[in-house]
C-alpha cells in the first residue's frame, strides 16, 4: 500500500469520526464523548499527514504546533465561562487566519492554474474577513470596544466599493497568479478591512448571530483552503462546520424575528426608536416580603439573562433552587434562545453552577406552562421578557418572540436600578400589575432569600 493511499484512508477514518462526533454533540448524554471522538479524528488526521512524502523536515512543524497548542491550551483552561463568547470568537479568528495563510502559501509551490488561484483568493477573502471580524466581535463582547453599532452615512457605499474592489482585484489576480503579486497584498488588506466594516455596524445584542456566522465562515475558509491544496478532508470538515454555523445563525435570527440581512446591515437600535413612553408605577418589594410569596409558591420559574452572569449570581440561584425544592416547589429555568451573548450561553453558565440540564426549558415550553407558574423570577434579563415585543408595534424589538412572564401569577424582577437593557429599549414589564421589583445587586438579593429560607 502506498503511503498516499494510507494517508487518504486515514482521512476517511478522520471524516467518519468528525461526523459521529458532531452527531453525538447533539445530545447531552453523549456530547462529551462526541467531542473526544472528533478530537481523536483530528489527531489521526494531523498525525498521518506527517508521513506525507511532501514533508521534508519536522523542525518548523513541531516548534509551531507546540507554540500554538500551548497558547490554545492555556487560554482554554483560563477562560471564565462568562467570557466564552469572546473565547470562541478568538478561536474562530485564528482558524480563519490559518486558512488565509494556507491558501497564500499554496502559491509558493510553483505555478498554479486559474481554478486553484480562484480558490486561493476565496480562502484569503473568507479567512481574512473571519479573522478581523472575529477580532472586532471579541473587542465588542469583552467590552474593550463600545458595543453600540457604529454607523455612518456613506457606510453602504463604502462597503459596496470594497466588495467591488475585491471582485475586480480577485479577477486580475486569477488572470495572473503569482505569490509575489502586489494585487495579492491588496486583496489581503481589503479582506481585513471588510471584516472590520462588516462587524462594526452590528450592535452588542446581535452578537449571538455574528458569532454563529463567523463560525460558519471559519468552516468555509477551511473548505476553500482545501480546494486550494486539493485536500478532500479539509473540504469535508470545513463544509460540515460551515453548514452547522449557518443553521445556528438561522436559529438565532428566527429567535429575534429578524432576517439575516436586517441583523447585518441595520445597526440595531440606531434606526428606530419607540414613540411610546411607558408610564406607570413601579412597585418595589423587599427580600422579606419576596420570601413570604416564594414560600407559598408551588411552581417557580427563573428567567435568567446575561445580567445574572455579570452579577455572578448563578451559584446563589442554584442554592435558592435547592431551598425551593426542599420546600416542595417545582423549579424550572426558562432560557430564551438569545439570552446571553452566544447561542446556549446561559445553559453553560447554569451548568457551571451545577444546575442540572433537565431543569432548563426552552422558550416555547416555558410559555406553554406560564399560566401555572406562581412566581416568575427575572434575573438580569430584560429584552427577552419585554412585553413590548408583542404589544407595541413601534418598539425596535416588535415581533421578537419573548418569554411571556406577565402571565405568571407574580413576577419578580431583580434589577440594580431603573435603566434600559442592553439594546436600550424601555420595558413595560417593570410597570406591570403583578410585577414586583426587587432592587439591588442580584447576588445579594438571592443570597438574602436563601438566608430567609434557611433561617
Amino acid at each position: 500500500m502506498s503511503i498516499d493511499m494510507f494517508i487518504n484512508l486515514s482521512y476517511i477514518v478522520a471524516a467518519i469520526l468528525f461526523i459521529f462526533g458532531l452527531k453525538q454533540l447533539g445530545s447531552p448524554d453523549t456530547a462529551r464523548q462526541g467531542n473526544l471522538l472528533s478530537a481523536v479524528g483530528m489527531a489521526i488526521a494531523v498525525f498521518v499527514t506527517l508521513f506525507s512524502t511532501g514533508i521534508l523536515s519536522y523542525g518548523t512543524i513541531i516548534i509551531c504546533v507546540l507554540i500554538g497548542g500551548g497558547i490554545g491550551a492555556y487560554a482554554a483552561q483560563k477562560v471564565e465561562m462568562t467570557a466564552m463568547p469572546e473565547m470562541v470568537a478568538v478561536f474562530n479568528g485564528t482558524g480563519g487566519m490559518a486558512s488565509l495563510l494556507v491558501g497564500w502559501v499554496a502559491l509558493f509551490g510553483g505555478s498554479v492554474d486559474s481554478f486553484t488561484a480562484f480558490t486561493v483568493v476565496l480562502s484569503i477573502i473568507i479567512g481574512g474577513v473571519t479573522f478581523t471580524g472575529s477580532l472586532i466581535a471579541y473587542a465588542k463582547l469583552s467590552e474593550k470596544m463600545d458595543g453600540k453599532p457604529i454607523v455612518f452615512d456613506a457606510q453602504r457605499a463604502v462597503n459596496a466599493a470594497i466588495i467591488g474592489a475585491i471582485v475586480l482585484l480577485g479577477y486580475f489576480f486569477v488572470q495572473d497568479p503569482s505569490a509575489s503579486s502586489s494585487t495579492l497584498w491588496l486583496l489581503i488588506i481589503l479582506a481585513f478591512v471588510f471584516g472590520v466594516m462588516a462587524v462594526i455596524p452590528i450592535g452588542g445584542a446581535d452578537m449571538p448571530v455574528v458569532i454563529s456566522l463567523l463560525n460558519s465562515y471559519s468552516g468555509l475558509a477551511a473548505c476553500a483552503a482545501g480546494f486550494a491544496i486539493d485536500n478532500n478532508l479539509l473540504i469535508v470538515a470545513g463544509s460540515l462546520v460551515g453548514s452547522a454555523g449557518i443553521i445556528l445563525t438561522n436559529i438565532m435570527c428566527k429567535a429575534m424575528n429578524r432576517s439575516l440581512a436586517n441583523v447585518l446591515f441595520s445597526g440595531f437600535g440606531a434606526v428606530k426608536h419607540s414613540t411610546k413612553t411607558t408610564e406607570g408605577e413601579v412597585k418595589p418589594i423587599v427580600v422579606e416580603d419576596a420570601y413570604l410569596i416564594l414560600e407559598a409558591a408551588s411552581n417557580v420559574m427563573f428567567v435568567p439573562g446575561y445580567g445574572m452572569a455579570v452579577a455572578q449570581a448563578q451559584h446563589a440561584v442554584r442554592e435558592l433552587t435547592e431551598c425551593l425544592e426542599e420546600n416542595g416547589a417545582e423549579v424550572s429555568f426558562a432560557i430564551h434562545p438569545v439570552a446571553g451573548r452566544m447561542p446556549g450561553h446561559m445553559n453553560v453558565l447554569l451548568a457551571e453552577a451545577n444546575v442540572p440540564y433537565d431543569q432548563l426549558i426552552e422558550m416555547d415550553e416555558a410559555n406553554a406552562k406560564m399560566d401555572f407558574v406562581d412566581v416568575a423570577i427575572v434575573i438580569g434579563a430584560n429584552d427577552v421578557v419585554n412585553p413590548a415585543a408583542n404589544e407595541d408595534d413601534t418598539s425596535p424589538i416588535y415581533g421578537m418572540p419573548v418569554i411571556e412572564v406577565p402571565r405568571a401569577r407574580t413576577v419578580f424582577v431583580l434589577k440594580r436600578g431603573m435603566a434600559a437593557g442592553f439594546s436600550g429599549v424601555d420595558n413595560p414589564l417593570f410597570f406591570g400589575e403583578n410585577t414586583r421589583m426587587l432592587f439591588g445587586d442580584a447576588k445579594a438579593s438571592i443570597t438574602g432569600l436563601v438566608a430567609e429560607f434557611k433561617g
Binding site: G21, N35, L36, G68, I71, E362
Partner: protein
C-alpha cells in the same frame, strides 16, 4: 475532473452537515459551536503540509504562522469544549451535582 470530484464532496458534506446539526437542543448550542469551531481547525493539516515542505524564507514563515494559528484553534477549541461539557449534569443521578 478533479474540480467536479471535489465539488461533489463539498455539496454532499454540506447536506450532511445540515442533517447532523438541525436537531441539536438549545442547551448544547455553545459547546456545539466551539466543538465545530475546533473541527474547522482541520486547516492545520494543510498548514503542516506547507510547513514541512522546506520552502524556506517568507513561505516558510507564513506556513509556520499557519501552523501556530491552526494549533491554537484546534487545541483550544477541543479543550474548552471538553471543559464546558464536563459541567453538564443530569438531575441527581449520583448526587454529584452537590
Amino acid at each position: 475532473m478533479e474540480i467536479i470530484y471535489l465539488t461533489f464532496i463539498l455539496v454532499l458534506s454540506i447536506f450532511l452537515g445540515f442533517e447532523l446539526i438541525s436537531k441539536v437542543p438549545a442547551t448544547l448550542h455553545t459547546p456545539l459551536m466551539s466543538g465545530a469551531n475546533a473541527i474547522s481547525g482541520i486547516t492545520l493539516v494543510g498548514a503542516v503540509l506547507a510547513a514541512g515542505a522546506d520552502m524556506g524564507g517568507f513561505a516558510e514563515l507564513l506556513a509556520g504562522l499557519a501552523v501556530i494559528t491552526a494549533s491554537v484553534n484546534v487545541v483550544g477549541g477541543y479543550m474548552v469544549t471538553n471543559r464546558m461539557l464536563s459541567m453538564f449534569k443530569k438531575k441527581d443521578t449520583t448526587g454529584a451535582a452537590k
